[in-house]
Symmetry: C2
Subunit: 216 residues, 2 copies
DNA sequence: TGTAATGTTTACCAATCGGTCAAATTATCA
DNA sequence: TGATAATTTGACCGATTGGTAAACATTACA
């Protein structure tokens, strides 16, 4: 018989570790390319190099795979924001936050697209996590930014929309990669586009948030 | 017999006009919510208030509907960029471009999500249009911006990444609406968020692009 | 009004989907 | 080694999918 994942009390087998990892890797590949509905279990099984029933032995449903992936991705996706340091220098904190987010868009585009897909579909599976942990974290960091602005260390601005704009500009290079490449053309679409983007965004945000005599 | 759309030489019937419009409206609703693969013809037919075979009489395949929608959306989506005036005042041109894009995100979120979905999936159906007309238009406007920078009217910056950042920040409020609402919470998630966003983005870009002594 | 073109519906189909089952195989360890 | 638990597979199932065929109804127009 042997019950898979769900009803286990003992610790995981070596085989379980390996296979579950292979499956999630394959699922990330397929889900990020075709979305949840567009991905098929057969596809994932093929990419993972195993039969469909074998895959379903480890994850009982397609949704279980997706849930495992989404929660994992959401967690690591927020790491850069967690590193945001209230005690640091405002400008350099924002600058390195942008840099880290851009690096994630470059190095983990599949994770970014998986997340984007989920949000686009209305986030049916992670609405609670958005309204809970995500909101809490953003609230906390927004308060830091607001304090910086109040102290005159950066320009007065809405901290939430500042965070949104950093998210959107950086993730754009992962989620809309096809469009970016199409517009830049073959010559400019090499890996240098991330350095160009970094330079531009740094200039935009640092200058845009530099101390200035904005009215309230 | 009666051949639908494809093989007609005469002008369209009144019924055809009406029905095709109703179908595309329904298709936009469903496609933007669930993506291409996630949407079903039955769903679209139900939203359009007609039977599935009747719908397929006007659009022979699901893909035909999607193609008709995508090309239409891509076209109107570029309108704000077309209005970008080389002869105008640089700062106010950029400012009103941002405003127009943000208005589109507010008033036509379904169109934005449809487009985002297509790009996320690798733009299988519109790659040519991206590399062709879209790139041409962006190239043209980028040249205008570059000239402005060269003349010292705005800060020196990469015009392509400037355009990307305007696209991403504004469309974020349509495509990631669920996330934005979740983070802002019930109190702040009213329609006022678009005005707040407009104020923030205007400040960010105008200050960020203001004349400054950036090195080359 | 008659009739031909246009439009609509009912019934249906083949393909694909997520998932099951029982038998066969392999790993584990006393 | 032998027995027990864990893993893998091929065959299969019901539901849903995109799309079709042909009968039926309606409209346009001479």
């Amino acid at each position: 018989m042997a019950l898979p994942r769900a009803a286990r009390t003992q610790r995981r087998t070596r085989i379980q570790e390996e296979k579950e990892e292979r499956i999630l890797e394959a699922a990330l590949e397929v889900f990020s390319l075709h979305g949840f509905r567009g991905a098929t279990v057969d596809q994932i099984a093929e990419v993972a190099g195993m039969s469909k029933p074998n895959l379903l032995y480890y994850f009982r449903t397609k949704e279980a795979m997706h849930r495992a992936l989404i929660t994992r991705v959401l967690d690591t996706w927020l790491d850069p924001l967690r590193e945001f340091d209230a005690g640091g220098n405002p400008v350099s904190e924002i600058r390195s936050y942008i840099r880290r987010k851009l690096e994630m868009a470059r190095d983990f585009p599949r994770e970014s697209r998986l997340f984007a897909n989920e949000i686009l579909q209305g986030a049916p599976n992670i609405e609670d996590e958005l309204k809970g942990p995500l909101k809490a974290l953003v609230d906390e960091k927004a308060e830091v930014i607001r304090a910086w602005a109040k102290a005159g260390k950066i320009a007065k601005c809405d901290p939430y929309h500042l965070i949104f704009s950093i998210w959107s500009t950086t993730q754009h290079y992962a989620d809309f990669d096809v469009q970016v490449r199409a517009v830049l053309g073959q010559d400019q679409a090499g890996d240098g586009r991330f350095e160009d983007a970094a330079r531009f965004l740094e200039q935009l945000f640092v200058t845009g948030l530099g101390i200035s005599e904005q009215p309230a």
